[in-house]
Symmetry: C2
Subunit: 406 residues, 2 copies
């Protein structure tokens, strides 16, 4: 498997575009994505009890198990907490896209991201769909336009593509994502769109996505808030022409590992572009009793406001890490925990099997001055491990979110 240039148009048989329709004051705010052949759909949706209208539309389509031909996405407005009108608007987006592409409305998925509780400017979006359809293309540039159009307070596009060989055929997976704030995915994440030309059964495609989401998007947190609009939508149109993957074997593993790599990288890109971020933190927990314990512990650490502000202040206040582990809902012996921080400037041991080490504050400061910092936690409860990715909590996060609607 290797990483190549491109995003959602990297795989064979996908067209995309992105432009401005007026849902945001300026910048691109509308993306269209089309598969030239019907594509199997895999998806993971937010577990938030309050689900945005497009999430509900897509869940209904997902349950029909039909193949998909297009996705339409707007930014600037989340179409969440918008009641009956919101449901009608989400459907209108699908119907309009189906009309201009001459397909069925049940073959169209819909996504929205932006402010909550404000009616969608559906007329502008419908007009935008008509205006944009002629610009759809399979170039990498077209994919990049789409990646631009799904952003909100993100500061850069998040695209990636990987290629591998399956049954002698070149198989490609491409993806684009957006993140920024309200990032604490639970069984799903922000908006992420994956396109692949792999030939695979719908069942295994859905299984591969679900399995990789658990250890990628679900292990990042920017601010502990699980959004109403979280979704990963993935399409597989079979254009790579590989022998169909219809059992869990070597081919499935090659594909799943490539998908995992793509999703982990997109998830990390979301964290790196978190609102107000100045530090990216990878928390690795080893020696846990079970995988779930390791996940809970690592995620509790990256979600703690006190841990996050300490990293912002470049302060090796490691007690807050143990405190956050302590309320993760996991049983462990604090007297057997070892803890170290590392970055490109080196590694420093802070706690050795429960005993605090008298460490050099100078060395610790040097390590923490880097943008990327690793926290390694070793328990003595078992053999399982997990990684989680988060960021610091800065003045800028507070500023962005105190002024979001203005």
């Amino acid at each position: 498997m290797k990483i190549i240039k491109g995003g959602v148009t990297a795989a064979k048989g996908y067209l995309a575009t992105g432009g401005h329709c007026g849902a945001k004051r300026k910048n691109k705010d509308l993306a269209l994505l089309q598969s030239i052949k019907p594509a199997h759909m895999a998806a993971v949706f937010t577990t938030n009890q309050v689900k945005a209208a497009p999430v509900l539309w897509n869940k209904a389509v997902y349950d029909m198990e039909k193949d998909i031909k297009a996705i339409v996405v707007n930014s600037g407005n989340a179409n969440a907490c918008t009641g009956e009108q919101g449901m009608m608007d989400a459907k209108k987006m699908a119907v309009t896209t189906a009309d201009v592409l001459n397909i069925q409305e049940e073959e169209v998925l819909v996504a929205s991201t932006g402010v909550i509780g404000v009616p969608l400017p559906i007329d502008k979006i419908s007009q935008g769909i008509h205006d944009l359809v002629g610009t759809m293309s399979s170039t990498l540039e077209a994919g990049n336009h789409a990646a631009h159009a799904i952003l909100t307070t993100d500061t850069y596009t998040k695209e990636l593509a990987v290629v591998m060989h399956i049954g002698g055929k070149e198989v490609t997976i491409g993806g684009m994502a957006k993140g920024s704030g309200m990032i604490h995915p639970n069984m799903a994440t922000m908006l992420s769109f994956i396109t692949t030309d792999v030939n695979i059964t719908q069942k295994l495609f859905r299984q591969a996505l679900a399995e990789t989401v658990e250890d990628t998007y679900n292990m990042i947190s920017v601010d502990g808030d699980t959004s109403t609009n979280d979704m990963v939508l993935a399409l597989a149109n079979g254009q790579a022409d590989n022998p169909i993957i219809d059992c869990v074997g070597e081919d499935y593993t090659v594909f799943k590992e490539a998908l995992h790599e793509l999703n982990e990288t997109l998830a990390k890109l979301i964290v790196a572009d978190g609102e107000g971020v100045t530090k990216c933190i990878e928390v690795s927990v080893k020696g846990a009793k079970c995988k779930e314990d390791a996940r809970l512990l690592s995620k509790s650490v990256i979600t703690s406001n006190l841990v996050k502000t300490a990293f912002f202040g470049e302060d090796a206040n490691w007690g807050r890490i143990l405190c956050a582990m302590g309320y993760a809902g996991v049983t462990f012996d604090p007297n057997k925990v070892s803890l170290c921080y590392s970055s490109d400037k080196g590694t420093i041991l802070l706690v050795d099997q429960g005993v605090p080490i008298r460490f050099s504050e100078e060395k610790a400061s040097e390590i923490m001055s880097e943008r990327n910092i690793g926290v390694e936690i070793v328990l003595q409860e078992g053999m399982e491990g997990a990684k989680a990715w988060g960021c610091d909590l800065s003045y800028e996060y507070v500023r962005i979110n105190g002024e979001y609607r203005t």
Copy 2:
């Protein structure tokens, strides 16, 4: 029941003092509290898996069900994550206090608050106990000195006393608390010390405390971090000479309601003095299926960073409230939720049974410009309700916690 002046020395038979021993660079950092008669002890401790040494000491004493004669508290150092040495230091605090007061070490409770993971300056504290014991007094001023000595980044003391009549006798409850950061109590809270002269059985005293903690300290949050040192310690020495409360009847109810009032007020004082706070927010949920649902929903709202930053920015971005309710782990119908904000400047309806109201931004800004803001959420799931108290998330919170150890 009425509120009177004073704190932990308001009830009959309690002495206190507070002074400086050097655990902090300056300011008072050591408090002593004594009951002239053995007092029943009630307590609630942190549920954090990582428990500070003094919490472990007190739990052991609690389980012995012996009566208590003294409490010693230091600020400036939490004696948490300090291993074996920490346990020995906590014991040393109890032993030294027992020595100077000529009582048993098992009659002494210990509390510490401050930085985590640094060995306690036990020699300074021991010397301080010797120095301070001669200054103990039953005056309200002495109680205030103790209230000063338990503070960390708090900006003012938190004291309260209430008086009621039980069986023709005047019964008093006094208390002092400290809060500030790492405030998200779970089955316990920050440090809070309650003294009462009520005559009550140990069993009912413990029951009354446990019941009131659930709806007071456990319903506040400053930053979502549950501390390693959270404790409410309560003493009842019987000096009011009321007929003993030994069953759940009218006397018990009078006492419990007074205790509830005291604890709710202390809890709100902790929030009002939260790190960097500019707004105090009361979230009231009504019409929930059960009490636990109402608690989870209200607490999820006040814990959300996005809700908190919106209040800091005085932005009526109410969608974030529904979003935070959505991930609280409670089943409810978002289409039946009503929501309004209120303050001394008036009330504004934002959502009416799931339908967003086109509201005046001007009016909303005016209401949100106040320091105290109420959020009322009405469901249509049942008849239960709960209140939670929290604060906004400001630049100042980030500054304080980025620089805590320096």
